[in-house]
């Protein structure tokens, strides 16, 4: 009997087992997770911490999911080693499992920089439900807090803390928020909205030291400034969990390299999600796009292919969507041009009064990036233009017009139109 082993129980892992079970109800399927929690909506931990949603809403699949799909779930168990030659994985408790086909969807972990005092009690990453619960436990005794990093996770953590009436400062090394998904001008819109809602941003400065004996009292920045803070959330990016394939023939770059079938360099081992490095359609190079919808897409393809299909994955690209205090923000693909880049065109609408910013980046008559703030209608059309690499020459001038939409692109998309007769 075939045996599918999936390491990882989040977006990619679940999408994969669902794709496997859609095609194969007989073979054995094992899911292994190092967390002690059945699958949950990782991206909702900030809403949970904020008090916007109750814990039961964070459950991604019902309890019956594993049983109904005949999946063996092993929690609280870390896979420390993959042995491709013997088709076997080894766990931290020495238990071993063999497999016919393996999916590595181990995700990523928060990067914790080497900073004095950063190992103290009261310093947290913000990645797991456990992180959120630990922070939650300290909320009654917390008045001041700092978030390190102005990316999506950092800002979501700041939002949650603010919602719980805790004074929060976001320490951002760069000169803008969301520097991995917005240009400087666009970031200004988000920053203003956060500041209007009482979140303080400290830009262009980095942390130097966490001060306190045992418990945290304050943080010190490289500028010399000191802020009172009894809680610190570290959100300075994530690194893929790929130690388990070190010194194997599985090829790695920044993450585990996946081909167009989501296969690693070892054919019966697949990878998906935040640990996988796949072709980035807009960058034209391999990259990790550690994003929920990307993980689901990749998981779905991996699972299908593990079960014998031959589905092609065109590639990933950055796709971020978030709402800050009623300001919706969507960023797709390339969001900022390097100073020395050639052959790109930018179309832009920017209106600080009505809080609307829209930008489209075009290369060789194809959209390779789009940013929407305030007005995000039709952003899905742009995602499609990017993914299907549609030539926009004939409707280029309409792209940022108010009534641009699906009818404009329908003659150019891959799928044949069938509702309009």
């Amino acid at each position: 009997m075939k045996k599918f082993v999936v390491i990882g129980n989040s977006a990619a892992g679940i999408a994969a087992v669902e794709a496997i079970r859609k095609r194969d109800t007989e073979s054995k399927v094992i899911v292994i997770s190092d967390e002690n929690y059945a699958t949950y909506c990782r991206c909702l931990i900030s809403y949970f911490l904020a008090g916007d949603i109750k814990e039961e809403k964070i459950i991604y699949r019902p309890e019956s999911f594993y049983k109904e799909n005949n999946i063996e779930l092993l929690l609280n168990r870390e896979v420390v080693r993959v042995d491709p030659k013997k088709n076997r994985i080894i766990c931290n408790d020495k238990v071993q499992f063999d497999y016919t086909s393996l999916l590595i969807a181990t995700g990523a972990s928060p990067k914790i920089p080497e900073i004095k005092g950063l190992k103290k009690r009261g310093v947290f990453g913000f990645r797991t439900i456990e992180n959120a619960k630990s922070i939650e436990g300290l909320i009654p005794v917390t008045k001041t807090s700092c978030v390190l990093g102005g990316g999506l996770i950092g800002l979501k953590a700041a939002y949650a803390l603010k919602k719980r009436n805790i004074d929060v400062k976001v320490i951002i090394k760069s000169r803008q928020v969301l520097s991995q998904m917005l240009d400087f001008e666009a970031a200004g819109f988000v920053q203003r909205r956060l500041e209007e809602n009482g979140i303080e941003m400290v830009l262009g400065q980095d942390i130097q030291e966490v001060i306190g004996n045992g418990d945290i009292k304050a943080i010190k920045l490289d500028s010399g400034k000191v802020f009172d803070s009894s809680l610190v959330v570290v959100a300075k990016g994530v690194s893929p969990n790929i130690d388990l394939v070190k010194e194997t023939e599985i090829k790695v770059g920044e993450g585990i390299i996946a081909n167009n079938l989501m296969q690693t360099s070892v054919p019966n081992i697949y990878t998906a999600g935040d640990c996988a490095e796949s072709f980035d359609l807009t960058a034209g190079a391999y990259a990790i796009n550690a994003l929920w919808p990307v993980a689901v897409e990749q998981g779905k393809i991996s699972g299908a292919n593990m079960a014998g299909e031959n589905l092609n994955y065109d590639g990933s690209f950055g796709m971020n969507s978030i709402d800050f205090f009623g300001l919706p923000v969507i960023s797709l693909g390339i969001y900022k041009l390097k100073e020395d880049s050639h052959g790109y065109e930018e179309l832009k609408v920017s209106d600080t009064k009505s809080n609307i910013y829209k930008k489209v980046i075009i290369r060789n008559n194809e959209v390779v990036g789009a940013t929407f703030i305030g007005d995000i209608r039709n952003s899905g059309i742009f995602l499609r233009l990017i993914r299907e690499r549609i030539d926009v020459r004939t409707f280029r001038d309409r792209l940022l017009q108010e009534n641009f939409g699906y009818p404009d692109i329908m003659d150019f998309v891959k799928e044949k139109e069938r509702l309009y007769v």
């Binding site: 999408a15 978030i322 699906y406 009818p407 998309v413 799928e415 069938r418």
Partner: protein, 149 residues
């Protein structure tokens, strides 16, 4: 399973379907009262113009729905039996992932309510309200036509 089709040659772009849709999803279901409701009911269907023709755009209830895959809160699910993408407002956090991935631009954000606006085929009624509201019969409500690939 029934699906909405559009005879675009007949569509005048009069937006009667938009009004009927907003009304059908209002609290009072009465036009003048609905206009005074605290949160104005918004249509889940929009008429877009292209090369002299009018196209009503709304959720198509895709069989392989990108919005369901992208929903990080598991608020969107696909009901195979009903052939519909369902939305659970209680689970939705308003992250707009669905808006971002809809290949038809058919999900619009209701920023105030923090909920996506999507056609629900007026599932509690016999047929979608837009069908009857269309003065030219451009909106067709019929069993799905299977397309061979």
């Amino acid at each position: 399973m029934k699906q909405l089709y559009y005879d675009v040659k007949k569509c005048l772009g009069c937006k009667s379907c938009e009004i009927a849709c907003a009304l059908a999803h209002s609290v009072t279901n009465e036009l003048f009262k609905a206009l005074k409701e605290e949160a104005l009911s918004l249509p889940r269907k929009k008429i877009l113009h292209h090369k002299g023709k009018n196209y009503p755009v709304s959720c198509r209830h895709c069989k392989d729905p990108k919005c369901v895959d992208a929903c990080m809160a598991c608020a969107l699910t696909y009901d195979k039996k009903a052939g519909m993408v369902l939305h659970d407002e209680n689970r939705c956090v308003g992250c707009w992932m669905c808006v971002m991935v809809c290949p038809y631009g058919a999900i619009r954000p209701n920023i105030i309510k923090k909920l996506p606006l999507r056609c629900d085929k007026c599932k509690d009624k016999n047929e979608p309200s837009c069908v009857k509201a269309c003065p030219t019969g451009a909106i067709i409500w019929q069993e799905e036509i299977e397309v061979t690939k």
